[in-house]
């Protein structure tokens, strides 16, 4: 969490935390493991009713601004979601609302429904084979007499099985194009995927000549490249903030346990062999928050540095979060590798976040490209 929140931001943070602690404590998350949908629609509507989706929407479409720095405000929610490994399509909702709001009033009705949590929108972006780069996308969009024709397969689509709408990022000859596809459109096949997260569900979405009217275009035809890069940055930033919340929370409960647990006559937290590692970990956690916030600030300011700073944040947070969680398991001891202990629920979310939108190694490559340019 950043260290100079405004009063409004503090209030929003407290509200979100109170809601999640009451409605989505970790015991409830456990109980949702076998739930195909991952989370109940009622819960999602109530979570959206806290108002955070409106931060992504321009005022003329029913949105509002808290600090005016959208990603900064949303990251507060993301970190709380991470702390409790909360369920629900948080990032897809944010990304889709950002795209729809920028596309304008034509999507007013859908925007209102996504904001209220009445419908769920998923971002159909990445493709099989761990493909997260805009340049690697192979799904195509073609204009025909009757509208826009989509062909291709989207993978790792978060909330794809529950989605009422898909924001599809596809390649037109001259550039990227985004199309809003309602569930049930002919020649669209959604297949649920398996995943390691307790409550996050993913799907594969196949488009075999799905035909959409031109009014389904989100933003300009073949002119969505910049917006797609923005969406990816936003998703990465929220993901980093979420991972930071998850690691911070796991760190807190593990350190508490280490104060209670006695070995050789004293709390294990008093042994330098362990507490020195906790000190290193605190440095990594605080640094993770620092780099995430710095990237968020650059993103919100529209700075040209945002690209490099987002890649740096993901490269750092992606690798350090899994390193931290794994070391927390080691310090917890045997109980930390059991099903009944909560740590693996955190490890699973961290593993998913590490991989989604490209692993740290991919982002490190981007950093290398940018510093050697």
């Amino acid at each position: 969490m950043r260290l100079n929140l405004s009063e409004d931001q503090e209030l929003m943070d407290a509200t979100v935390r109170r809601f999640l602690e009451k409605e989505a404590p970790i015991a409830k998350i456990r109980a949702q493991y076998d739930l195909a949908e991952g989370c109940a629609r009622d819960y999602w509507r109530e979570f959206c009713a806290l108002g955070w989706p409106a931060l992504l929407v321009s005022e003329d479409l029913g949105g509002y601004a808290l600090s005016g720095a959208t990603a900064q405000d949303l990251a507060i929610v993301a970190e709380e979601v991470g702390r409790l490994i909360a369920a629900g399509p948080f990032t897809p909702t944010a990304v889709c609302l950002d795209a729809l709001s920028k596309a304008g009033a034509a999507f007013g009705e859908v925007i209102a429904k996504v904001m209220s949590g009445e419908v769920i929108a998923a971002w159909a972006y990445a493709e099989a084979g761990d493909q997260w780069e805009p340049d690697a996308l192979q799904t195509t969009a073609r204009k025909t007499g009757g509208g826009v024709l989509l062909d291709g397969v989207k993978a790792y689509v978060e909330a794809g099985g529950q989605a009422d709408y898909f924001l599809v990022t596809a390649r037109a000859e001259a550039g990227l194009t985004q199309v809003l596809v309602p569930k049930g459109t002919a020649n669209v096949v959604v297949t649920a995927a398996h995943g390691v997260d307790f409550v996050r569900r993913f799907a594969e979405v196949r488009f075999d000549g799905a035909l959409l009217p031109e009014s389904a275009l989100v933003g300009p035809w073949a002119g969505a490249d910049a917006q797609v890069r923005r969406q990816r940055q936003l998703a990465l930033l929220l993901q980093c903030a979420e991972s930071n919340g998850a690691v911070d929370c796991a760190f807190e409960f593990t350190v508490d346990y280490m104060r209670q647990r006695y070995a050789f006559g004293r709390p294990i937290a008093s042994y330098q062999a362990l507490k020195h590692r906790l000190a290193d970990m605190l440095a990594r956690i605080q640094a993770s928050m620092a780099t995430t916030d710095a990237a968020i600030d650059a993103f919100d300011a529209g700075s040209p540095e945002a690209e490099r700073l987002v890649h740096i944040a993901k490269a750092w947070v992606g690798s350090k979060s899994s390193m931290n969680l794994s070391d927390l398991v080691q310090m917890t001891g045997g109980i930390g590798v059991t099903w009944d202990h909560d740590l693996h629920i955190y490890e699973r979310r961290i593993a998913v976040n590490r991989a989604l939108f490209g692993g740290p190694e991919r982002h490190r490559q981007h950093v290398h490209r940018l510093i050697s340019a």
């Binding site: 042994y271 507490k275 020195h276 906790l278 928050m289 780099t291 710095a294 740096i312 950093v367 290398h368």
Partner: protein
């Protein structure tokens, strides 16, 4: 108090009219040039931003100092005052008698007097409270005998803040005093310690033979030296981390690299034409990431200390992070330079990466080693229990006896 916006405008105008732009090709300035520049800033009212006016400061705040550092970032500012003004001056502000503050802080701010610290001893570095240097009171003065080691810059400094044992019959932390010791006085012998790089001595060893210090030059109470030393170390860690009173006093190289002593491996890799070497590319990128994130952590902690969200010794976390980051940087420097970093032809200077490697452990040891920082972070920031220690409640004399018995 002057608003930050007004101050920024005033500072910017003065800087543009009076300071030179930084030029990395220009050789480092001499001590005399730095002193002249420091005096110029002092005379114009751009030093001691958060120091009260009665000590010749500006009576403003650390936020004003941060604004100054932002505005002066691209300009040449004095080097060599990190210890004296960044660490010792705030310690004096916290602890010195009124007369000492009025006499010395103006001279420190103008760069006329340099202060440094005399804490570690030949017999103990990390275990600072085990000091054997002796302070004996005779009349209105204390007389110091013993020796100190690892003190930076003692050869050029005028005063050292010296931890010495006043009372030997109480536990070790309870018998120490902190004294402002005049380094040019009778009874002081200073020798440089040549570092492994073979460079000019930076650290020193000092011998004190009955050096007289008037009683008004005790910092804190006569036996409150341990608390005074903690205060000093707090300011030291902050200065090293580039926060608090020390903000802006790091060398320009440290600032550029995000607050450490790291080599810029991207430039180095370009020079050695290995920036795209598949065996090194990922590590070079990671190193750049570590450097950027280190600076971001320092900024975050600074923000937290200013907003009040963080309280206490968070400078230690930044110093620890630097200490975790430096080994990888130095070692990768060896890889990037390869054979040309250890063997070179011609008479031009070389071996910089090896020198960095030989030198950097100094930074993971000095100012509290990584291990000491880990104790501070885990015990003071996380509140974890201490390891049991068998020296805490025993009179120091008794400890000395036990040690002799064990060794005999």
């Amino acid at each position: 108090m002057e608003s930050l916006e007004d101050f920024r405008r005033r500072a910017r105008a003065w800087i543009e009219a009076n300071l030179e732009r930084r030029d990395p090709r220009r050789p480092l300035r001499t001590r005399e040039e730095n002193a002249a520049l420091q005096a110029k800033l002092f005379d114009a009212g751009f030093t001691g931003f958060a120091v009260p006016k009665e000590y010749a400061g500006q009576g403003l705040s650390l936020d004003h100092q941060a604004v100054w550092v932002e505005e002066a970032g691209d300009y040449v500012t004095p080097q060599g005052y990190q210890v004296s003004i960044g660490m010792m001056m705030p310690t004096l502000l916290d602890l010195a008698t009124e007369a000492v503050k009025k006499r010395h802080i103006p001279r420190m701010l103008r760069g006329e007097e340099l202060f440094m610290q005399l804490l570690s001893e030949p017999s103990g570095g990390s275990d600072m409270a085990g000091a054997l240097t002796r302070a004996t009171k005779r009349g209105d003065s204390y007389f110091i005998s013993g020796s100190k080691m690892w003190s930076s810059g003692a050869l050029n400094a005028h005063y050292g803040l010296c931890l010495a044992r006043v009372n030997w019959d109480v536990p070790k932390h309870a018998g120490l005093g902190m004294f402002v010791l005049p380094l040019k006085a009778k009874g002081v012998t200073i020798q440089g310690i040549r570092p492994a790089t073979g460079e000019e001595a930076h650290f020193c060893i000092e011998y004190f033979d009955d050096v007289e210090i008037p009683a008004e030059y005790v910092l804190g109470g006569e036996c409150e030296g341990w608390a005074s030393a903690q205060r000093l170390l707090f300011h030291e860690r902050n200065a090293v981390a580039g926060i608090g009173f020390g903000l802006g006093y790091q060398t320009s190289g440290e600032r550029q690299a995000g607050g450490g002593w790291r080599a810029d491996l991207v430039s180095l890799a370009r020079k050695h034409q290995v920036l795209h070497d598949p065996a090194l590319a990922a590590q070079i990128a990671d190193n750049h990431i570590d450097s950027v994130v280190g600076g971001q952590l320092s900024a975050r902690v600074n923000t937290g200390l200013v907003s009040g969200k963080l309280k206490g010794q968070w400078g230690s976390l930044v110093k620890l992070n630097q200490g975790l980051d430096l080994p990888g940087n130095a070692e990768l420097g060896l890889s990037v330079a390869g054979a040309d970093g250890v063997i070179w032809s011609g008479n031009a200077p070389g071996g910089e990466t090896t020198n960095t490697w030989l030198r950097y452990r100094g930074n993971t040891i000095a100012g509290g080693s990584n291990e000491i920082q880990r104790n501070i972070v885990s015990e003071r920031l996380l509140g974890l229990p201490r390891e049991p220690a068998d020296d805490r409640d025993v009179p120091f004399n008794e400890l000395m006896k036990r040690r002799q018995q064990r060794q005999s």
